[in-house]
């Protein structure tokens, strides 16, 4: 499964259409150097309208912790979603898992 590393730059919840959590990564904990997959800035998403919702919410807690403490995470995810997009085609990736590490440890 593909994976992408970075620091949580933004977390959003959207209820338009399907309720989803969205987040984006940066390459640096304090800069706005957004991580891209292909040409567009990459958006990672978790579906809240699924039987797996408890697990998606568990991932959310990791994201919040990582953002508060500027910790690097590794997101494992599927290939590009074709049915919908955040801002431009093929910019969205369904999250499979989140790994968070204490500062100073490498992914």
């Amino acid at each position: 499964m593909p994976s992408t590393d970075g620091f949580v730059g933004t977390i959003e919840v959207e209820t338009r259409g399907v309720s989803r959590i969205w987040f984006g990564l940066t390459d640096n904990p304090t800069a706005s150097d957004w991580v891209r997959i292909g040409n567009p800035r990459a958006w990672f998403t978790m579906n809240l309208e699924t039987e797996n919702r408890p697990y998606e919410l568990a991932k959310l807690t990791l994201l919040l912790e990582a953002q508060r403490n500027e910790l690097a995470i590794r997101v494992s995810h599927d290939a590009a979603i074709t049915e919908f997009q955040k801002f431009e085609p093929l910019d969205s990736f369904e999250v499979d898992g989140v790994r968070i590490l204490r500062q100073g440890l490498s992914l």
Binding site: P2, W34, N39, T50, R53
Partner: protein, 479 residues
């Protein structure tokens, strides 16, 4: 360093027929590098060696032929993979004095057909059709191949690559597996005419009854792949490694082929007809592969190994890199598929046919084509075979592909030092040196192009939402 010596078999200056050994010290005896131990080599026997016979049509004298021959060798060995595996290729050539050049009149020795503009012509599929000149072509071609001892191993007649409906054009059944002919041509302009690759049958079975009934003649095996004309190294990629064209020929036309349902070494292609990750043969090269890569901010995004638009057709087909020896010009976009905004457009935003961007690297395969070439060399030299392989050639193709993925790919990867090599390739595109002046002169940055995209995923399933239960509420409150 490859030996590029030309060794003619005669010193007679006006000889009408001259055979050459090309760089003989490299292939006599044959060998290939041992991918498992780069310090060693593996012997390649005469029943495993790959023959390249370079013929020439329309050459009035040896000097012109030898000039093209030297150019061909320079090009061939400038390609890293052929230089490294030079011991596997028995390179020989034949000069045939021709009183006439290659023209539409077909008066040259081999009767190769040119159009009025000097480029080679595919009119009437002459290489496999009936007709006096066509038959003379085949007779003289196969007779002159017979002037050499060559490895005449044939792919079995029941080898099925589902040609036409699937990924590679070459029908391999009953074709010489280890012998390829390169036919250099000398046209009315004194040039090696722009050419193509075709599978040529030994002959045709016609007969009076078939003719009276209007039936077309049946080709008789064996078949040989012939790379005609200029760009012969590109054509050699078709003829030897069964690589497909990566350029777009006809904007907005759509491919109708599909990927094979089962992986096989014989249907291994440099094109994919699906954008899906689970069908991607070159995923290991991509940024999601063996060397994970990502871009951020103003730093270049990796571009090697994603889905690059086009492969003969424009839509529903992709290749692995922006530049490749198997690409070309035709109707390529330079930067964006918004044709009116692409530098290939005319000032009024329209596009003139066959004036696309030249995306061929003359001496470099994309990394996926390079891997296919290595796999082909190992298959043809018998390195992928093992005791207990199935009898059926079609099953063997599947077993060999699995073996390539499970075992040989690692060795290939290490031998070519791709752990760093893939980053070098990314840097080539990120730096945009003089090779990319078409982009540079227009102020374009390749990684911002819309001609590539990441692999596509599965369809996302959505189920009806339920109420938040206590456990979830607690989780959120304590987060």
């Amino acid at each position: 360093m490859a030996d590029k010596s030309l060794s003619p078999d005669t010193t007679v200056p006006d000889a009408t027929l001259v055979r050459y050994d090309l760089g003989r010290p490299d292939w006599d005896p044959g060998w290939i590098p041992d991918l498992a131990d780069p310090q060693r080599t593996v012997p390649v026997g005469l029943d495993q060696i790959i023959d390249i016979l370079i013929l020439g049509d329309g050459f009035p004298d040896r000097a012109d032929f030898e000039s093209q021959l030297t150019g061909w060798l320079d090009d061939f060995f400038a390609v890293d993979v052929y230089e490294r595996f030079r011991g596997a290729f028995r390179l020989r050539a034949l000069f045939r004095r021709s009183d006439a050049r290659v023209t539409s009149a077909r008066a040259s020795y081999y009767r190769v057909l040119a159009a009025e503009d000097g480029d080679l012509s595919a009119a009437g599929n002459w290489w496999e059709s009936e007709g006096d000149a066509n038959e003379e072509f085949r007779t003289r071609l196969f007779n002159d191949m017979g002037l050499f001892d060559f490895n005449n191993f044939l792919y079995p007649g029941d080898l099925d690559v589902s040609a036409g409906g699937t990924v590679i054009h070459n029908e391999l059944a009953a074709m010489f597996a280890n012998c390829v002919v390169c036919m250099l041509t000398f046209n009315s302009n004194g040039n090696n005419a722009s050419g193509f690759t075709r599978r040529v049958p030994f002959g045709l079975a016609s007969g009076c009854l078939g003719g009276m009934l209007g039936l077309s003649a049946t080709p008789l095996p064996p078949w040989v792949n012939v790379a005609f004309g200029a760009n012969s190294l590109h054509e050699f990629g078709h003829a030897f490694a069964y690589l497909e064209d990566e350029y777009i020929n006809g904007r907005c036309n759509s491919a109708s082929r599909s990927n094979p349902s089962t992986g096989s070494l014989f249907t291994l292609s440099n094109l994919t007809f699906s954008p899906r990750l689970d069908e991607a043969l070159w995923r290991h090269i991509s940024p999601w592969g063996r060397v994970a890569r990502q871009g951020a901010g103003d730093d270049p995004t990796p571009t090697v190994g994603w889905l690059w638009r086009g492969g003969e057709r424009d839509l529903n087909v992709w290749h692995a890199e922006y530049h490749c020896l198997m690409n070309g010009r035709h109707d390529n976009y330079l930067f964006t598929s918004d044709a009116a905004a692409d530098p290939t457009a005319q000032p009024d935003g329209s596009y003139q046919d066959e004036t696309g961007a030249r995306l061929r690297s003359d001496h470099r395969y994309c990394l996926w084509c390079q891997e296919i070439v290595v796999a082909r060399i190992l298959e043809k030299t018998g390195q992928l075979a093992a005791p207990g392989d199935p009898d059926s050639i079609n099953s063997r193709g599947q077993v060999w592909y699995d073996r390539w993925v499970a075992t040989w790919r690692d060795r290939y990867w290490n031998f070519f030092e791709l752990e760093t090599g893939i980053l070098d390739r990314e840097q080539l595109y990120a730096a945009q040196g003089s090779e990319f002046d078409d982009l540079n002169n227009n102020g374009l940055v390749l990684w911002r192009s819309d001609l590539y995209q990441p692999f596509h995923g599965d369809t996302v399933s959505v189920t009806s939402p339920g109420a938040v239960d206590d456990g979830e509420a607690l989780l959120l409150m304590t987060a």
